[in-house]
Subunit: 454 residues, 2 copies
């Protein structure tokens, strides 16, 4: 991570860093599959019409066109920046998933549980130090027409378990509910609920006094209404006691009741099952995203300024096909953002830079084929093994292993009776002992490159 | 695969197909890591200057530009199709790997063994039915200055093992050596060896008579020289007997000797270790690629018209940095091409469409949290488990599992003493028996979705 990307915003990992990333992605995949989520991948490109469908022009998009077409062979048609059929790289996995669901609705079983781990691209300004290419790991459950609320609890439990299995220390999933906030504002007499949310979303940036001023100046709220909206946003509890705190503010509305009940269900179950992992945080607004109920974001303890590493929420209509709607709820982990922090803060590292556990040394150059037999015997038991290509001095062969962090070097010599004698050396301790390629196993901790949490 | 891609050339798999693809990718990864190959990923974009460095203008490239820049904010600079700094999607993994090696040479240990499994993009004409986005799986070994020849044998052995572990039936790795062919042509008195290779490469398409005519017309070969070049190209042996057949043609040249020795080493070792998997095929030319020694291609038995599914070779200079060169040897599997054939010919399928092995049914709606305890106990032993979200009729809950191919449904009821009684039903046989969530295991064959070879 001390290396500078040769193309601003496009990070590439060294082999040892990639081992850590692979571990993170494998852990996520394993957890998602244990909870019955199916893997899908969507193509990297969507049409501009699809990508900008929800008016998300704030996300800078990378347009894609065939170079030959640019050169005029397609009559320059593809050059029109506003052509909705023009192709562009996806900037998240939600829009492509919605399109996939609509296209394949006849082939999918609903509710459909899917996870998707892929790269996305955004043409962010490089000076902000943001990644332009990064990996996201999403889970969503999508229903056909209806999707029971319980999935809002389910996906949060899955993510709490997935994040808890990563070498990233403590984290807090902050949860709110749009219905709760909107019902509260309506109960207060503030009709422009989106306007209130937009201003509450600025709370951390500009402070309570300025938000109060904006609510009064822009939305015509009274000082009392603004104070109430701010009081709601200040509520934070690890259990369901937020319900009483909201009730104590004396506002009532049917939508508020619904939101309170939903948020209590999510937070209550998380508190029971993953204590300390989640809070009801009534300041969470999730910006301009089109959520309609539960909203989630996640901060790493001690790295709060990194922003949310895992966000999401409930959509009443993730996708639509004619008058058929597909509601959904899900969360998305910003894997690359997490990796960059893990490396810059040295939160975790690989136990070695290669998968290899055993390096088979050569005594004579023409032992190579026999050494492959030894390696094959080890590999058949899942032991990653490399074979030297020439019979250099043993010291040099050991150095090959040492530089890569390979823990064991295997030597074979012929005894006086012409029989092969195998010995394996732990190059960390220097211990060397006879071993049988058909049965020898390294300690479990040396079998694979491991990820060590610092 | 009966579905048509909504964007021509961009294929997306259904969840059950993705299980097969995941199995293929996992198998490749496992094999590559068992042989000590490190995983890397490179960014999806390269500069045009990098991509077209070797003059590969035949590969149609997708250019990438920020939409905002297109709209004129960057002064339209990015629009120049010939600007070498313009970004484009990579069309293979070799060019990006070469750039990665040069950029990170100070952080890598050479010889560097890496595998890379990523998508690549080519703006091929859609009417040819080719994929425009597809996954490649590459292995390469790259040296700093020199790379012992033995790696040419090594990578072929690894790929033979990797392909042999896939549900694709029989295949043949066809191997040749550029030095052998070029030495032979030089020994014959034909100086334009690239010209001869280019014509020999057309053999399958246009036939021996036409190649002979072209060699005489274009390269000034005598009828005898053309006949000799064609005789060389007709040699095919599973073992090293090709050496005698070449010698019998009576041509001699130092480069020919070197090529014969190298090819004999590769084919001999493969014949010993993976009999039937490889042939010396002296017609293989690998088109215009810049190989300098061993060349490989691979056909699936019974699917020869599909073309090569795994190709590669040796480069004297995979990359260069000043006067430092990095020779390399490697092979690349066209995974998407393979998957398309596997699906269209129904060569393999997933045993179910979801990872889930057990579906925990609900007797009452408020059993959900207790059902999560049951599911958690099963998941802790690696059993993928889903929980119903509402206590619908058991028939409906069983149907949920049945539609997805989930083999087991779990029922919990309370006995007369108020104790929970757990039963698990195999919905294929209808057998139902008491089970303990803390100890029950499904048969090994039901634990995960498997891939069945047809």
């Amino acid at each position: 991570m001390s290396r500078k990307a040769s193309l601003s915003g496009f990070h590439e990992w060294l082999p040892a860093e990639r081992i850590v990333e692979h571990h993170v992605l494998d852990t996520l995949r394993t957890t998602f599959e244990l909870h019955g989520f199916s893997s899908i991948e969507t193509r990297a490109v969507e049409t501009l019409g699809q990508l900008l469908r929800k008016g998300e022009i704030d996300k800078e998009v990378y347009a894609v066109s065939r170079l030959q077409a640019d050169a005029g062979q397609d009559g320059g048609k593809a050059q029109d920046a506003s052509d909705p059929n023009r192709l562009a790289l996806h900037f998240d996995l939600t829009v492509p998933f919605a399109r996939y669901v609509v296209e394949n609705a006849g082939h999918l079983n609903f509710p459909f549980r899917r996870y998707q781990i892929q790269k996305v691209w955004r043409g962010e300004r490089p000076q902000e130090g943001r990644a332009r290419e990064f990996t996201q790991a999403d889970i969503d459950v999508v229903g056909d027409g209806a999707l029971p609320f319980r999935y809002d609890v389910d996906v949060a439990l899955v993510m709490a378990e997935a994040l808890g299995a990563l070498p990233i220390g403590d984290f807090t999933i902050r949860i709110n509910n749009r219905k709760l906030a909107e019902g509260f504002y309506l109960g207060l007499g503030l009709q422009d609920t989106a306007g209130v949310l937009r201003n509450i979303d600025k709370l951390e940036k500009i402070g309570a006094a300025e938000v109060s001023r904006l609510l009064q100046a822009e939305l015509g709220a009274t000082e009392e209404q603004a104070a109430q909206a701010l009081a709601l946003a200040s509520i934070r509890t690890e259990d369901t006691s937020f319900v009483q705190q909201v009730r104590a503010l004396g506002v009532s509305h049917a939508l508020l009741d619904e939101g309170l009940e939903e948020l209590a269900a999510v937070v209550g179950e998380l508190h029971r099952r993953a204590p300390g992992r989640a809070v009801a945080d009534l300041s969470i607004a999730r910006g301009l995203d089109y959520y309609t109920g539960t909203v989630y974001e996640t901060v790493l303890t001690g790295h709060e300024q990194l922003g949310s590493i895992c966000s999401g929420g409930r959509y009443d209509a993730l996708a639509a096909k004619g008058n058929r709607t597909f509601p959904g709820v899900g969360l998305s982990i910003g894997v690359t953002r997490l990796m960059m922090r893990m490396f810059s803060q040295q939160m975790a590292e690989a136990s070695r830079s290669v998968p290899t556990a055993v390096y088979v040394a050569l005594t004579h150059d023409d032992d190579w084929s026999a050494a492959q037999d030894t390696a094959g015997a080890l590999r058949s038991r899942g032991i990653p093994t490399e074979v030297a290509v020439s019979a250099e001095k043993f010291g040099k062969q050991i150095k090959y292993a040492d530089k890569r962090g390979i823990p064991f070097v295997w030597f074979t010599r012929t005894d006086d009776d012409g029989r092969a004698v195998h010995e394996v050396k732990d190059i960390r301790s220097g211990e060397q002992a006879e071993a049988d390629p058909a049965t020898w196993m390294p300690p479990e901790t040396d079998l694979r490159a491991r990820v060590l949490e610092n």
